[in-house]
Subunit: 578 residues, 2 copies
């Protein structure tokens, strides 16, 4: 059903004709350049460069790590793409998750006119983003799907179906003159997926028979032994919960996990419950998925959030956001009695149908604790089978390697140790060390008929999005924020006579976020004396180098404060000439 | 071997005689008051109060959560103990882990003269702390061990052996006139522990036969089904690693995990390797444990860190700190080539013999990634059996409940959901709801002959240690630090004529940790104009209320900055009268 529209392909070809095509018969090498997602989780982006044509797979964002204070998002460094904009034939998307499409609104204004290809659901989600950023009219966005073969410059891109935790996920066979590159996207093998469409083993086997130059395969769960269970396991677990729950059921999951939402709706229908969707991103995704035919519910099943209270507990199920404990999410607010519509009552059963993303454990645990305190029964991944992950485990990764039998293998999508574990799996199925390349972002792997070598390392920076600032956050700013966060700030104001350069009176000291054992005014008074005493002679007539003076202030006051408090607040001296 | 010294008991009795004993025949109730460790992991402290006598079990610290910016440690709120100091008979310690002894140096100066009782190894570790804080002469510290029966006011305290991840761990049978309270400490059941001394089942069964009023039992792993494996499993896994490793072996674990250190030494001896201990806390603990007889190595086994390079890779094993990825730890510095003595080389095998404490995952993963990048082979808990945890799993918790068969049950040591899961286990073995009390810190459970009820909730605050400041960090300071961390600070300096109160010239604006899309000087200039323009009329003659003016500045400048940047930096207006 995600067949793509030939009229749109014609339109795309017209656009592509306008782009200078410079494919030559002499193409002799292809370069794989990961611009994001290798050595990290998130901001997935892989560039494939033949010298004539440049293609990009995925354009994702990353959520900031703990020490990236105040940062909203991290996006890939696209300097290489900007420098080679004239050869860039398009961005092809494997599926609609944030770590694969989320950077598009930030990247595309710098790569104006680049066509984007995505499966139908991913394209729907991209359109929402482009509308929000008022970019919808600037971007040529096309749909493709399994079975299609799209010419982009000298590349042909052929999507094939894979299973993942969002419908309409594909891997890509990318044909170059030197051979075929297979990019798995995010994938797992599920013989009984919720949408009834298993990954296309036959296609992978055929590609393997034809011969594959390089395989780039998802490493997210390369540390996990065995097979990832089928979504069926979750269907059964959910149905048990729905049969047994004495009151309302509230299921929290990822807004993008359309298959899970369908499972909850199915269980509700089986047990005669109405379903309310609560939470902005959840409502939005359910709407798009329903419009595009990826989600279905019998008429009358869905009710408005406002109407939940009209039903008895056993007649209702709620699907909501907050499975990662995000403090502003619906579930977190329900757990603290701050939600406008839903208050948790004893008898409620809350199902958290998601695994914690590393780093989110504390927030999720806090939400679970708060729900228990409200009297709810809570089922979560450590104590129940209410979730399976969306990525292939070790045996599936080996199966992918054995089906595709590539000449070269590049593990992608994962932190460094996951890539290493994935490389070990490739060794286990018989690949030689010289066929396997554990790369990091920015490394340039050149493959030609003689072999494959890492020939270069592009300088790759973290590009931070903070409010309206994209790429303006420097390490100096982050270092300052860390110091401010840890020990606060002291502002010292000196009034100095403009003519004589002499200190007019004792310096003023203000502080914020700074802690002192005991009485603060006393400390400030002592600090003022210390600074004034030791620095009075610095304020001499006709001294113009205030920088030297303020550096001395930092040093003297810093030492005094450390001795008294074992703290190192930021010290900001301000000289006011009067 | 941890028999305690009768001479010391005599000394203790002499001290105790000095304390007013006011036990009466009419004692009719006992109160359990958790002061820390319930609804959280860490800062364990339980008060037991008969009205005449007050006893405290454990005195631990907690490591700060992510949003406690700049905080070093959190300790229990001991207001209740300070208010009832005259009835406080002692602090009894179950084992030498930081979350059971770490708050002693901060608490004891406020509870001067209170005797502390601990097992031999725990007492050794407490002494180190007291020496560091120059408190060693102020604290009556006594040793006890399994088989002892210590009178503390109207209580008798009888330690019994349990297994845990540090030797010399005990649970406590605490005799009161109303009945016996059993406190498990941290425990697991291991039939084949490294030190050969399994938990004392027989004693627990006898206590159960006698009748137990209340059981307070460790809930840390109440979410984990089944049994915790024996330490033997780790011995086997380690020995395999030692046989197969082609070069050096570096084992990182907790400095307190003496049994694990012994296992590594044993494996090294079996495979003819020398052992070097690296890392300050590791060296300190190994020294204390060796002196006290809890750790042994054949002569010549241990070598100095400086001498590691004299041996071939296959001749050496290193035991070090950093299993939680702590950035300043030895392992983290080895992983980034910053360690003074040890540089990781290909052929090294690193074993991380610990599970991540929730919240530390990111740091540990980063260390593992860095080790792989240096070419090491890394074995860690997700991919290898090189660690078992120190706490009982569900089946062991049920066994404890069935052995002790208490009249009332209070799950302790755990976040709220763990306490709830533990309560469910008690229900599963047949206890009734009215026998089970899921308490939070500060709740007062009163037990008398008629029954048990929560009669009060003491106000309990987080007590933060930050540098030399203990308890001085307020929520205002933390809120300020969060704002500073997120969006930085703008300092606005106004020079105002002292006589006329008029603005002398345009305000100065400085910023730190603040980010703006594009050019900062331009923004600052615009902001200055905006503030000066909108506020010039505020600076009127004879205005003495600068607070009103500075509030207006915050408002006007805050709005301007938000519009331009979508940031909310702290705004600190400073008025300088000239």
């Amino acid at each position: 059903m995600e067949r793509y529209d030939p009229a749109e392909e014609r339109a795309s070809r017209a656009i592509l004709r306008g782009i200078r095509l410079e494919a030559r018969e002499t193409v002799s090498a292809v370069r794989l350049i990961p611009l994001g997602g290798l050595g990290e989780i998130g901001k997935n982006m892989l560039a494939i460069d033949t010298g004539d044509d440049l293609l990009v797979v995925d354009c994702g964002l990353q959520f900031p790590e703990e020490e990236m204070l105040g940062i909203d998002l991290v996006i890939p460094d696209i300097t290489y793409l900007q420098e080679n904009r004239d050869r860039l034939r398009g961005i092809v998307i494997t599926h609609g998750h944030e770590d694969h499409i989320g950077a598009i609104p930030y990247v595309i204004p710098r790569l104006k006119g680049t066509p984007i290809w995505a499966t139908r659901l991913a394209a729907g989600l991209i359109r929402v983003k482009l509308r929000e950023h008022r970019l919808i009219d600037d971007v040529p966005l096309f749909e493709y799907g399994p079975g299609d073969s799209i010419a982009l410059g000298g590349f042909r891109v052929e999507p094939f179906r894979v299973n993942h935790s969002i419908p309409d996920s594909v891997g890509l066979a990318i044909r170059t003159r030197l051979g075929t590159i297979v990019h798995t996207g995010d994938f797992k093998f599920d013989h009984t997926p919720v949408d009834g469409m298993p990954a296309d083993f036959a296609r992978l086997a055929r590609l393997g028979d034809e011969g594959v130059l390089a395989l780039c395969s998802d490493s997210t769960y390369a540390e996990r032994p065995g097979y990832t269970p089928s979504e069926q396991a979750v269907s059964r677990a959910l149905l048990n919960v729905f049969y047994e729950a004495p009151g309302r059921i509230i299921v929290a999951t990822f807004a993008s996990l359309i298959a899970r939402i369908q499972q909850v709706i199915d269980a509700a229908v089986r047990t005669n419950r109405k379903v309310a969707i609560i939470g902005r991103s959840m409502e939005q995704n359910v709407q798009i998925a329903s419009e595009l035919g990826y989600l279905s519910a019998p008429p009358g099943t869905l009710v408005r959030p406002e109407d939940v209270t009209r039903y008895h507990g056993r007649e209702i199920a709620i699907i909501t956001t907050g499975s990662q404990g995000e403090p502003m999410s619906s579930l977190a607010r329900m757990a603290t009695r701050e939600h406008r519509l839903i208050k948790i009552v004893p008898g409620d059963t809350v199902v958290i149908s998601a695994t914690p993303i590393p780093g989110n454990e504390t927030l999720i645990n806090r939400t679970i604790d708060n729900l228990f305190k409200q009297g709810a029964e809570v089922l979560y991944s450590r104590v129940s089978d209410v979730h399976v992950q969306g990525h292939a485990s070790q045996e599936e990764l080996k199966m992918m390697l054995n089906l595709v039998r590539p000449k070269y293998f590049v593990p992608i999508h994962g932190e460094y140790r996951m890539l290493v574990q994935h490389a070990k799996l490739a060794q286990a199925v018989g690949m030689q060390d010289e066929q396997i390349f554990v790369l990091e972002d920015g490394e340039v792997l050149e493959i030609d008929e003689r072999g494959a070598t890492v020939i270069d390392q592009l300088p790759i920076n973290e590009v931070y999005v903070d409010g309206l600032a994209v790429g303006d956050v420097t390490n100096v700013i982050l270092r300052d924020r860390r110091q401010l966060a840890s020990d606060g700030i002291l502002v010292v104001v000196f009034e100095v006579d403009r003519q004589s350069s002499r200190l007019v009176n004792e310096p003023d000291i203000l502080c914020r976020g700074f802690v002192y054992p005991g009485n603060l005014p006393t400390l400030i008074a002592k600090a003022r004396d210390a600074v004034a005493g030791e620095l009075r002679h610095e304020f001499e007539p006709h001294r113009s180098e205030w920088k030297t003076v303020t550096n001395r202030v930092r040093e003297v006051l810093g030492r005094f404060i450390w001795d008294q408090t074992r703290q190192r607040p930021m010290i900001l001296p301000i000289v006011v000439e009067v």
